[in-house]
């Protein structure tokens, strides 16, 4: 069976399939369709959906609900992400599993509300104080919106971390043909709760890279603290304790990149050119690679489905045997800088970008790569 659905519907359906039972949001183009879907569907499934007074309250309510045992989603666009910033940091520090959808539109500020963009990519990584890692996924098409959202809930639970699904106006609002049999969760997302010994210690990890499962408020006294805290959740500024805490916040992500990194790498025998893309730009890149192949020119493709933490292992592998790397993205070259950092002196990294909202034509990529 097939359906014609857009990315907003794919994301909303995935959230419900992942067991999301709490949504708080604030209307904003182009994320509103997700708010509408959840407001319509969640009450019918014994879930809670609420339109908050602003984005700050939306994410704040989600965080409170998660600690109260719910599985939460919120969705916004650039200006809303700006307002999420402080609570994004709180979710990192308190180790809150939460899924956030950023339907990117052109910024800065109100920008062009109905124009697509990938301009939040660096902001999503560095948009809260402290500089500690979180996870950002980027679905390349409508079907990937579904699977990325499922993965986002899984990763959020597994690493007790906010996971951002970075999509865009174009992907959430364009209808595409999908096979309904493929929109089935690939995994069941379980919340690991800890029976454990009383008193429960929310931050008492055995190793820096491990997280303590959340506990139920019925079974344990929970001490949630987003000031710097010791293993029991009490405020501390002891240097030794801060080292432990801050090492943990990094290690729990960086030590598990094999699990977190998501990508689609298609190396082509003899290719001297590699196209790297993600999100909406991946369609342009794939079409360009296909057109090059039709002309008998071998070009390899790497589509990144996880952007943060940087999937360095696959980037390094993909960069290994090529001379020219084209980084295709609908912004001012934000992710290209990460690739440039990993490329060696003799390689050429070309930024193929667009900041006018028009999808990057495959021909532009081919021209940039000298493939005519």
């Amino acid at each position: 069976m097939r359906e014609l659905i857009n990315g907003a519907e794919a994301i909303s359906r995935a959230a419900l399939d992942a067991g999301c039972d709490f949504f708080a949001g604030y209307p904003i183009t182009p994320a509103t369709p997700i708010l509408l879907h959840m407001m319509r569907e969640l009450p019918l499934r014994d879930g809670i959906a609420i339109q908050a007074e602003d984005e700050i309250a939306a994410i704040g309510m989600c965080i409170g609900a998660v600690i109260g045992g719910k599985r939460a989603l919120t969705a916004t666009s650039g200006p809303g992400m700006s307002l999420y910033s402080e609570n994004l940091g709180l979710a990192v520090m308190g180790e809150v599993p939460l899924v956030i959808v950023d339907c990117q539109r052109m910024g800065p500020a109100t920008g062009a509300a109905t124009t697509t963009s990938q301009g939040d990519v660096q902001f999503l990584r560095w948009g809260t104080s402290g500089g500690f890692p979180l996870i950002v996924l980027a679905p390349a098409n409508v079907e990937a919106c579904y699977h990325c959202t499922i993965d986002a809930f899984q990763l959020a639970e597994r690493y007790r971390i906010p996971v951002i699904v970075a999509t865009d106006k174009e992907t959430v609002s364009t209808f595409a043909t999908i096979d309904t049999d493929r929109l089935i969760p690939s995994q069941t997302i379980e919340r690991h709760t800890l029976p454990g010994s009383d008193p429960y210690r929310l931050y008492d990890y055995a190793r820096p890279d491990l997280v303590v499962p959340l506990a139920s408020m019925e079974e344990h006294i929970i001490r949630f603290n987003t000031s710097s805290h010791d293993p029991a959740g009490y405020l501390t500024k002891e240097p030794d304790q801060l080292d432990v805490l801050n090492t943990h916040l990094q290690e729990k992500i960086y030590a598990h990149q094999d699990d977190i990194d998501h990508y689609d790498y298609v190396p082509v025998e003899g290719a001297r050119t590699l196209v790297i893309s993600y999100g909406i730009a991946a369609g342009s890149a794939l079409k360009a690679v296909q057109k090059a192949a039709e002309k008998g020119i071998a070009v390899s493709s790497l589509i990144l489905t996880s952007l943060w933490p940087i999937p360095e292992r696959i980037l390094t592998e993909a960069l290994h045997d090529v001379d020219t790397i084209l980084v295709v993205e609908m912004n001012n070259g934000q992710y290209a800088r990460e690739v440039e950092r990993l490329a060696h002196m003799k390689q050429t990294v070309r930024r193929v970008t667009s900041v006018n909202g028009v999808l990057i034509p495959p021909e532009t990529i081919l021209q940039s790569g000298g493939v005519q």
Binding site: M1, R2, E3, L4, F22, A24, T29, E41, P43, L44, R45, I48, I50, A52, E53, I56, A57, G60, M61, C62, I63, G64, V66, I67, G68, K70, A72, E86, N87, L90, G94, A113, K169, E170, S173, T174, F175, A176, T177, L183, M217, E218, H220, I221, I222, R223, F224, N225, T226, S227, L235, G283, S284, L286, K287, Q290, V358, L359, I360, P361
Partner: protein, 441 residues
């Protein structure tokens, strides 16, 4: 758990960290006595603290604790109240937290969210050195009002009450019955707030020679009363939400999907742009046309314009139909451009000169001539019999004619898609029938 709880204070962590004479310790002990009097289970109490000196408080209670960001405590408490409606969610905030988070206070009151907010109101920011707050009395001296405060103090109780809060009290830390009022607030179902006036002995009290009697004088000068000021019965947010949902038919579930019931001979991607006018069912006609393609085994994408205001737009749709999965939904030029209304003609004015002789334009014959290299064909809606003036059927008519002329997929598949949308099925089927012969070379 049937133990009799003597205190909810976390005795391992005592003593309390506040300055000598600070009202915070008095209020926390009153809160402890209130909890003892209510004999609540520890697991049923959640203390949510804001930022500032009061933010240190959760540590001293052996209950659930949630310590978050400045001004946002009420948002976390609201989320907790929705997730854990049986628990007693108690927010401890200062006058600073009320200032920065005033929007949340107003909205939690409006919603009658089932939380209790205790305001530790000492007229200034104690932790950061005595800056003025939203409650600093007129004329008072703080490190940010050297010449005396000139801003009107906020009436916290009045604000919460006028916006729907259902239990509103004002007390001072010197009141002997403070614990009773706090207990009543916790017991209340719905949004409860106690604004508790107290002294910051490090800053506000010393900078203004402000003592217990000055609290009373300030209250009097503002005509502010103390005690329980407002109490009404009213269902809290979640109870109303549940009530509204109750009895609503359960639906949802999986996508139904469409069977592939027809086949298409299309051998390459084919692009169609539909340029209509707002309110003329352009987007929905395009969607059904796309569904007809899906029912014929084609892959389809549909990009619609995204107007700023709904009734000024939603007039243009771009469709791609392809025998292969569509990687890239962008469109350089359509194979067929359908122009139905003046508004659509304006919107494609820059596209027309780009079309080549391989492309076609179907244009409503009532619209003026267009200049383009494409083959122009006229849509003679006057030949559509009884539907000739039914402008919101033009899109379906034009698309049906497109199928007859370009053989993208069988008209029957389009009919099937139209029939599946039951509410408009009869009108749509009539439009398809009436459209035959409307397109003229």
């Amino acid at each position: 758990m049937n133990e009799t709880i003597r205190t909810y204070l976390n005795e391992d962590r005592l003593p309390l960290p506040f300055c000598p004479g600070c009202g915070h310790a008095v209020i926390l002990k009153a809160l402890d006595r209130a909890l003892v009097s209510l004999a609540l289970k520890r697991e049923d109490v959640v203390i949510v603290t804001d930022i500032g000196c009061v933010g240190l408080s959760d540590k001293y209670f052996h209950t659930h604790a949630f310590h978050g960001l400045h001004g946002r405590s009420i948002t976390y408490a609201s989320g907790l109240a929705l997730a854990q409606p049986e628990k007693n969610i108690i927010v401890l905030t200062g006058d600073g937290g009320v200032g920065i988070g005033g929007h949340h206070l107003i909205n939690a009151a409006r919603r009658n969210m089932d939380i209790t907010v205790l305001v530790f109101n000492n007229f200034n920011y104690g932790m950061t050195g005595g800056e003025h707050s939203v409650t600093t009395p007129i004329g008072s001296h703080t490190v940010t009002t050297h010449q005396g405060q000139i801003e009107q103090p906020m009436d916290i109780c009045g604000t919460a009450a006028v916006n729907g809060g259902s239990f509103i009290a004002r007390k001072t830390s010197f009141d002997k019955d403070l614990d009773d009022t706090i207990a009543a607030a916790i017991q209340h179902t719905g949004f409860a707030l106690v604004d508790i006036w107290e002294l910051c002995t490090s800053y506000f009290a010393v900078n203004n020679a402000f003592g217990k009697k000055n609290i009373q004088e300030t209250l009097d000068s503002l005509h502010f009363k103390t005690g329980i000021l407002h109490k009404r019965e009213g269902k809290p947010y979640l109870a109303l939400y549940r009530e509204k949902v109750e009895g609503t038919k359960k639906k949802g579930g999986r996508l139904s999907g469409m069977e592939i019931t027809h086949s298409s001979l299309l051998s390459r991607p084919f692009a169609v742009t539909l340029a209509g006018a707002a309110g003329e069912k352009i987007i929905s006609a395009a969607k059904l046309f796309g569904q007809g393609g899906v029912r014929s085994g084609l892959f389809v994408t549909q990009r619609d314009d995204y107007p700023v205001t709904v009734k000024t737009g939603h007039s243009r749709a771009e469709l791609i139909l392809s025998p292969e999965p569509i990687l890239y939904s962008g469109m350089e030029r359509p194979d067929v451009l359908i122009i139905l209304f003046e508004e659509g003609l304006r919107k494609v004015s820059t596209l027309l000169p780009e079309l080549t002789s391989a492309d076609k334009v179907y244009i409503n014959a009532r619209l003026g001539p267009v200049s383009t290299a494409a083959t122009v064909m006229k849509l003679q809606f006057d030949h559509a019999g009884p539907l000739k003036r039914r402008s919101n059927a033009y899109a379906v008519m034009a698309l049906a004619e497109l199928l007859r002329h370009e053989a993208l997929y069988p008209v029957e598949a389009f009919l099937e898609a139209l029939q599946a949308r039951k509410r408009f099925a009869a009108d749509s089927l009539a439009a398809v029938k009436a459209s035959e012969g409307v397109l003229e070379p």
